[in-house]
Symmetry: C2
Subunit: 149 residues, 2 copies
């Protein structure tokens, strides 16, 4: 492919990823809005729902590592989730630099309302389970490669 050709929009993987991510978000938004969540807030809740109780804690730092987000993004986002009473934020008494996030009872309860979202979104892709797994693993290796370069 020559330079002029590769400068075209249609040839670019990045533009596809960018467009798909926007499209995904548009499908998620109305569904998540019913729960009072944005997509990024939903990602935080997914992490917290993995230990679905009001005692497990995770630091902002750890949350950032899981989601690949920094405190500049997470701090205000977590405040919004706290304002809605889905999470609580408490400074760690052992290490005062760290802030621990955990689910509130309301935040726990919200999980039930989110149970069928993945299935709903999967159906929108029109893919088979095999195709999904195949695409997922391709994207995983791309993620690994691009993180280390």
């Amino acid at each position: 492919m020559n330079n002029d050709e590769s400068l075209k929009l249609e040839s670019q993987l990045c533009f596809r990823l960018y467009s798909l991510t926007k499209l995904m978000n548009r499908h998620y938004s109305p569904v998540l809005k019913k729960l009072g969540l944005t997509y990024s807030q939903y990602l935080v809740m997914l992490v917290l729902w993995e230990n679905n109780n009001t005692t497990s804690v995770i630091s902002v730092k750890q949350l950032g590592e899981k989601l690949d987000l920094d405190s500049g993004t997470l701090s205000p986002l977590l405040k919004r989730l706290e304002k809605q009473a889905f999470v609580s934020r408490v400074r760690n008494s052992e290490d005062e630099r760290s802030v621990e996030v955990k689910l509130t009872t309301l935040g726990c309860q919200l999980k039930a309302q989110a149970q069928n979202i993945p299935q709903e979104m999967f159906s929108i892709t029109g893919m088979s389970v095999d195709e999904l797994h195949n695409l997922n693993s391709q994207l995983d290796s791309l993620l690994v490669t691009m993180k280390t370069k």
Copy 2:
């Protein structure tokens, strides 16, 4: 896959797309910064560079259709590109509702500096040309399906 399983971060296609798009942006940002562009501004320039001259025009509306962006995103973005003298914006005299965008001489010249960006980004993916084409076409069909639902 049960509901609890599918609510996990690792099982989700969307999270992979979201993460990859952020990662892409992080690779593009430093490279594009040298040209004075953000990724979204670069996309606009890619469209304009397809007719690389200072006479071809495209309306904000058409630009929005190509990039799947609305005027709420494009209007301020185009103003920034205009402030940097990469594009000019002129209201269409035939139809005063429409605004035509075109490259300035400076905007045309900028293309030369962008020539090797696609190659550079491709090398970061670590993929072969075949793998890239294959992934691109998978994402294309996903885009088609998701647009129509």
